[in-house]
Symmetry: C2
Subunit: 622 residues, 2 copies
């Protein structure tokens, strides 16, 4: 069988204006697959210890994987990574839309951005050709404006664009990168890294087809998966209500982050649900490359809170962060906040959680109008939320403080503000309260990217059977969500191995793909006679590369922890009295280290790295 | 899908004469599969720390696995295990023939023997019925005699018998258990354990059929595998020349253990090869249940060295141990030695290596005729080899010393004899010189059963691609056989994981089964949606249970080592100058500990055991 995947990686040195092509060996692809695997590899191997995340020596990696560009549901994603300006360590985010698939059609498996352009530029990739182009005329403009300008300049609306907005230009520490202006690679502040390089956008057009080792088998699997998407309960719910479908239920069971995680139920939740969006502001549903689920809302609002459907619409994370977390139940205002975050390029989770933090500080008297430039930062104040988005993106007035992220802002504010900053390692906690799912809490504490829900969502009731494949992982028991025993640690570890593997395959979590089918699919595409065992090792490599990078950059055992809030029981609602026990978490962290093959300080041992066939990482850690 | 495997385990308490049936949950089967998995489970869980391996508190476990009783090539095996009288730790051996398949047809997945009968007995299992029967009239008789007597007594030659011989009755420490009088569960001295319980035999007849979750798929796989057996080069070679096929080549490249591992080439090798057997003494080929390979020679000799074809014929290990290791090139004498080991029930490897040890001591003047009762123990003396087999089996004269195994014999002899005793943890080294395969050397050093080739044979040129499945384990490089780097340690570990998994599936290593097909087959039989990942965890559980047992019984880091001989370079032959470096092995052992998740003393950590879902083992270690 021929090998169907891998061959070319584009390398762009913006300082020298030089573009080259790496042609890695098949071994490289087989060991790291793609996505986070590539990111871990290039960050640990090529980024020197101690470099400034926002300096020219950081590198920014855009990566697809073996499925990228293959027209199959769930494949239309890409990863972006860099040393994170939020955490100072392993930074990585995934994103949907159409840019990833388009990159797949060019024949490039990844793009590595190095150095810093003297003046703003963008990158234009058309099939094998790549060109650095002037972007001075684009600087300062919204993402929609820039998308239109680039497409016009290059002569086609079929061109797909990944870009930062003004917030990225201004190096807001949680600036994001947007595909097609409405799909965000939100986490880790990678947009700030792109801004620091004076790179506004990467425009891509590919006309090629990804070669498939077994085209017939892949096509059959693609068709079967399309059919599954129309029948699988979770996928159908996603098609109907999008990610916001669960919001009402979350509030009812008491896990919807409300007023900076002070409560878990929000009296205005009903106004923010997927069903409410469908009934009020929804214009149409959108989606990603090759995917029939179409979970993406496009919303339109006329009047005061004018919203352009081109910017998509608020996802669950955004509704929670800008809505309930800030005590705001005005859907139109939240939709506008979402649009502005897309227009300026900021992660809505970090924006919302940072504003909610400031609101709590304000209500507790730690911040006053004197600090905020006259803004009344009370929970529920939609106008102030919207105003702060503008100020943060421009790094103006009080926005300058918050643009640094909640961890740095809290240190700057002082007076005990740190107690109310809900982040891990500098990354703000997403809209899943770990008090209800202790395994998730451990995941936040230990994840290489800080508080990140993308590879940590294991717990009863969410994804009982890892890899959606009963028994393939030998999981035979259902463990209460509010338990943090060694057996829970094991399931959290196994789950995160699989999720990291999906992040190397750069595959969507919403598509009803089982681990056994994934083995078949990857074999069909690549021609590798792979196995779930090998795949899990790929995921484990990422966890270890991320960890190694963090350790090298100074992460210690003390950083593998949760904000105080989650040790504090809810004082009302359905989960009244529920919290994580600090000592239990500390024990679970220690157990995780042991299970992961790390030493008592959480450092991967040389033997463990050798076991994973990445012995070179031990050298790079020194 | 229905579950096709698991349900009943027979438990026989010989002290009380009581027979009961365990009905474990599906979880038990899923976690441990069968074979070594069951043995590890019952030994760690049920055998108290510090019990005498030859006392009534030891337990003897006969176990099949999910494939047992299913008519598919390679499935006709069973495992037998107990606390070993040779090593004092985890004892286990596999065996072919027809007994395992027959047990599968009774509906019992395993048989646990406890306690000790007051007078000799045998066990008779017919389908669900089981009965303890008097065996006083069988005691002291050869295995062939006993087989005939039991079959006559029970009225059918279709009855399959696993039994010990007089050596087992006499508790020779390396006594074995024989299926059908010519397939040996040779290693670990489990025959002595059976003898210590006054249990001479287990006779089995089953008329049932193993239920299959997906009968059609299993039948198709069975047929495909049968066809593969006729085409696969290795399998065809096995059919033609049996295990002895490689002997001549081994001598030529310099790895045929000769004169107690002093040399690697034997000038008389040509007289002992599979081809020579075929041309001279072969009567017919035999094999195991459902297997078309038929690798088993049945040989006949008339005249001085009279050999009855009913006893089969010498395998490679026997030809090496009784032949080249003792410097003997007389095939007929070796064939007779093999027959006598089968008639008395002794492991030919330990017999030959122990005699070879005595011969070297004799030639070096450590032993004299005074010690040996007048026997001239020179290398090449076939008569003395045959005489010693008789004496050892009867524990008479100098045989009494050697019946204790080479480690204990060397200690008893003193005068530096220990330097020439080639064993690890008390178990004699099999016929694969580790100087040529350093990974194998590490395997011997670290294996839970001591020097054992059954789960340690990884190295270049033998099984380059683990699980016969290129790339499924992510193995992408060929590492020189005489290297003991961390990457070699990794491959040795991965290989042994897979081999231990096969030992839980109780599957033959000679059948050309790939790991991916095994996943399909186990799924088809059991109805479990299993995966290679889960399977490898099952193998890892065994390694850890075996280790835990050994640690509890006193194994320390110092025991994970090789005999001095293998640090001594060959002084002639094709591998002149080649040896393992002591410091390299020590480093590799340490690396292995780290990779395996063990502490610096080689103890499985509680976290590692929890990761493997066998947290209870940590408790049992205390």
């Amino acid at each position: 069988m021929e090998y169907g995947y891998g061959g070319k990686i584009l390398r762009v040195d913006l300082s020298k204006g030089k573009i080259t092509v790496d042609e890695p060996e098949d071994d490289f692809y087989h060991r790291y697959f793609g996505g986070s695997g590539f990111i871990g590899y290039f960050l640990v191997r090529e980024v020197d210890p101690g470099v400034d995340p926002l300096g020219p020596k950081n590198k920014l990696v855009f990566a697809g994987g073996p499925l990228t560009g293959v027209p199959i549901a769930g494949s239309g994603r890409n990863s972006v990574g860099a040393k994170s300006p939020l955490t100072g360590g392993f930074g990585q985010a995934e994103v949907g839309g159409f840019w990833g698939g388009e990159l797949g059609h060019t024949g490039y498996d990844a793009v590595i951005i190095e150095g810093k352009a003297e003046t703003p530029v963008y990158l234009w990739i058309e099939d094998e050709k790549a060109e650095i182009k002037d972007a001075r005329h684009l600087w300062g403009k919204t993402t929609l404006e820039v998308q239109k300008l680039i497409q016009k300049e290059l002569g086609s609306t079929a061109i797909r664009i990944a870009q930062i907005g003004p917030a990225g230009e201004n190096q807001v520490r949680y600036a994001c990168i947007l595909n097609d202006i409405n799909h965000a690679a939100g986490r880790s502040g990678i947009g700030a890294v792109m801004g620091s390089k004076n790179l506004r956008a990467i425009a891509v057009r590919g006309h090629g087809k990804v070669p498939l080792a077994d085209e017939k088998a892949v096509n059959a699997m693609a068709k079967a998966l399309r059919d599954d998407c129309k029948e699988n309960r979770g996928a159908v719910a996603m098609s109907q209500n999008g990610t916001a479908g669960g919001l009402g239920g979350f509030s009812m069971v008491g896990v919807l982050p409300t007023r900076n995680f002070q409560q878990g139920s929000f009296e205005g939740a009903e106004k923010l649900t997927g069903a409410t969006i469908n009934e009020t502001i929804l214009v149409k549903r959108g989606g990603c490359y090759a995917c029939p689920i179409r979970c993406k809302p496009h919303v339109g609002v006329k009047g005061v809170y004018k919203v352009d459907p081109n910017y998509g619409g608020p996802e669950y994370e955004t509704l929670g962060a800008l809505g309930s977390s800030c005590g705001i139940d005005n859907l139109e205002a939240v939709a506008l906040g979402n649009q502005q975050c897309s227009a300026y390029g900021m992660d809505t989770i970090s924006v919302g959680v940072t504003i909610a933090f400031a609101m709590e500080c304000f209500e507790k008297g730690i911040l006053t109008e004197k600090d905020t430039g006259g803004l009344k930062l009370n929970f529920g104040n939609a106008e102030v939320m919207l105003e702060l988005i503008e100020l943060i993106a421009r790094r103006e007035a009080f926005g300058k403080v918050l643009a640094e992220g909640s961890a740095r802002a809290a240190r700057a504010i002082g007076k005990g503000a740190e107690e109310f900053a809900n982040h891990v390692k500098g990354q703000e906690v997403p809209m899943h309260d770990p008090r209800n799912r202790h395994g998730l809490g451990l995941g936040y504490a230990i994840s290489p990217t800080g508080a990140d829900h993308c590879h940590n969502m294991y717990d009863t009731g969410y994804e009982r059977r890892i890899g959606r494949n009963p028994s393939a992982m030998g999981i035979l028991e259902t463990i209460p969500a509010q338990e943090l025993s060694p057996r829970k640690v094991r399931l959290q570890l196994y789950h995160s191995l699989w999720q990291h593997t999906l992040n190397c395959l750069v595959f969507c979590q919403f598509v009803p793909m089982t681990s056994d089918k994934m083995v078949e699919l990857v074999s069909g595409i690549t021609g590798w006679n792979t196995s779930l065992w090998e795949m899990m090792k790929v995921g484990e490599r990422v966890i270890n590369m991320g960890r190694a990078l963090n350790v090298r950059e100074g992460t210690t055992r003390a950083d593998d922890f949760l904000p105080k809030r989650f040790f504090t029981p809810f004082n009302s609602g359905p989960l009244e009295g529920v919290a994580i026990k600090e000592a239990e978490l500390a024990q679970a962290v220690e157990t995780y280290y042991g299970m992961a093959g790390w030493d008592s300080e959480g450092r991967p041992t040389p033997a463990k790295l050798e076991e994973l066939d990445i012995g070179w990482v031990a050298e790079a850690m020194k």
